[in-house]
């Protein structure tokens, strides 16, 4: 069966974001960009399913600026088979991404779509659920375990308070949580080989999808700063502080 894995190029998770002085957004000029960590986990899971013989082909997709090509090459170097890049001049919101992915799913007919649970830039946590709505497929969100058998996927989900298990008829949508797996690093030979793997470039218009934004960002600001605290030298001083703060009794 075929798996579709959407991946997003985001500000590297180790970089502290800086808000632009004019309040229009976060400064992304000359900063390290990487694959969204949850998407790495999604690619890894697809590869593991292929290694188990469950999956025959892994198609990775990214939507955004042409540089998202680098992110797709990373996924190809990890072990994906082929890539689709959908370029767009404007920022595409989760609903627009979900509509494009629906169009791609109609064309590619995957049995499973594995996405990250959220992108660490917009922190939306929407795209997988929206794609599931548009396709009418079942959704296994926040997955910490995925098992495919007999035309169904059984997903253990991380929920408030513990874990929940659901069985979804294929085709289905899965979104990954951090604990699903430990993504592999691409080796140098695989990075070289990835350059020869097929990468198709399309535009949103090719799919006839309207991705015009529904939201306008009026401003982006720094969160309010905490005032500097004090350091105490001993446990006794700490206990005194706790008393002053009313934590005790």
């Amino acid at each position: 069966m075929k798996v579709l894995v959407p991946v997003k190029r985001v500000l590297d998770y180790n970089v502290k974001p800086r808000v632009k002085a004019d309040g229009t957004g976060v400064d992304l000029a000359n900063v390290k960009m990487s694959m969204n960590p949850f998407d790495e986990i999604a690619v890894e899971e697809a590869i593991r399913l292929k290694e188990k013989g469950v999956v025959t082909e892994i198609v990775v997709v990214s939507i955004g600026e042409p540089k998202a090509q680098d992110t797709l090459r990373t996924a190809l170097a990890m072990g994906a088979d082929r890539a689709i890049l959908v370029t767009s001049d404007t920022k595409v919101e989760p609903l627009g991404v979900a509509k494009l992915l629906k169009a791609i799913a109609d064309e590619e007919q995957p049995s499973l779509v594995i996405l990250g649970k959220q992108a660490i830039d917009d922190d939306n946590n929407q795209t997988g659920q929206m794609l599931a709505a548009l396709t009418g497929w079942g959704q296994g969100t926040f997955a910490s375990k995925v098992e495919v058998a007999d035309g169904a996927v059984t997903v253990t989900r991380e929920v408030d308070g513990g874990a929940e298990t659901e069985t979804l008829t294929l085709p289905a949508i899965v979104t990954t949580d951090l604990r699903l797996n430990e993504p592999r690093y691409a080796s140098l030979p695989n990075i070289m080989k990835a350059k020869a793997k097929p990468l198709a470039t399309k535009t949103a218009a090719d799919y006839g999808v309207d991705v015009a934004p529904r939201l306008t960002t009026l401003k982006v600001e720094e969160p309010s700063k905490r005032s500097a605290g004090v350091k105490v030298a001993s446990v006794d001083e700490l206990v005194d502080k706790l008393k002053v703060l009313g934590v005790l009794g």
Binding site: Q129, L131, G229, K231, E237, L238, V239, V247
Partner: protein
């Protein structure tokens, strides 16, 4: 504006996360609560007492047991014909259902709102809380999830809403609940605890969590949290994780023990009223946000602290 609020519950009792969501909805207009599940008449009765709600819609059906998104979302989407906004608590359940509803309504969703700036304008955190965006929607209907720590809780008693059944629930036939493992704890729930004692990688083992963190938490009547490192190392269950991808908390007092203070952890706790850090590395980033810091070895500090409280 007429708003519909999804009631978060465990089948028996309403969860606290519902209450700040009601407060956010009341800023937009008239509040109707939606209770979905199976055998939820008790929950509906409790919901009717929440102050600020005028009506409770009750969708009680076997297909809605365990609140599978595939079955709940179409029901909500059709109920939205009579409402202008759908609000969910920012819980895993809310996050699972709301985007599916938004896509069925063909509207954008705004996640984790921190404030209501106007009928179509909201603030929300992006980049792990390192920036706050003010966003305005052009859509006719709103779908919002609410950051529970950003709004006061509505009173759980004092209201007298009328209840009304909702029919039309159906099994979409694509998903099936297969079981759950819910951790039981006598301690306060993390997202509503007034005090949280949280441990990191420096604890070195699950036993040390039990022997050092838990007695301190019990002395303070506190909830117990953890950093991702402590969860990944298996010291405590996943459900304890505080951070960008775990729980977002804002207690009165957050005590971070052996936690360095990575961006992703701070995203989950930096709105706490008072932050106390105990760490042996005086350069740990946690000290940049801590109100009170103590540099030292947690293995000597914690027993001493616990005995002196």
């Amino acid at each position: 504006m007429k708003t519909l609020v999804l009631v978060e519950h465990d089948g028996h009792a309403i969860k606290d996360a519902t209450l700040p969501t009601v407060t956010a909805a009341a800023k937009l207009g008239d509040v109707t609560l939606l209770v979905v599940g199976e055998n939820v008449s008790g929950v509906a009765e409790a919901a009717a007492k929440i102050a600020g709600a005028t009506k409770v819609l009750v969708a009680d059906d076997a297909a809605l047991a365990h609140m599978l998104a595939e079955n709940v979302a179409p029901l909500v989407a059709s109920a939205m014909a009579d409402y202008d906004a759908f609000l969910v608590p920012g819980t895993t359940n809310g996050k699972n259902i709301a985007p599916r509803v938004a896509a069925l309504l063909d509207v954008a969703m705004i996640s984790d709102i921190l404030s209501v700036e106007g009928a179509d304008t909201f603030t929300r955190p992006i980049y792990a809380g390192n920036a706050i965006a003010t966003v305005q929607t052009k859509d006719a209907k709103l779908v919002l999830s609410v950051r529970g720590t950003a709004f006061e809780k509505a009173a759980a008693e004092g209201g007298s809403a009328t209840t009304e059944p909702v029919s039309g629930a159906a099994d979409a036939g694509v998903s099936r609940y297969a079981g759950s493992e819910i951790a039981t704890s006598a301690r306060p729930e993390l997202t509503s605890a007034k005090i949280i004692v949280s441990g990191g990688r420096a604890l070195q083992s699950g036993e040390n969590f039990t022997q050092l963190i838990e007695p301190l938490a019990d002395k303070l009547g506190a909830g117990v949290g953890a950093s991702r490192a402590a969860v990944d190392a298996g010291y405590v269950p996943n459900d304890y994780q505080v951070g960008q991808t775990g729980k977002i908390v804002a207690p009165e007092v957050y005590i971070a023990i052996g936690i360095s203070g990575a961006i992703q952890h701070l995203a989950g706790m930096k709105d706490s009223k008072v932050i106390i850090a105990i760490n042996k590395d005086e350069d740990a980033p946690i000290f940049q946000v801590a109100d009170v810091g103590l540099v030292g070895d947690l293995f000597t500090i914690l027993p001493e602290l616990t005995s002196k409280l």
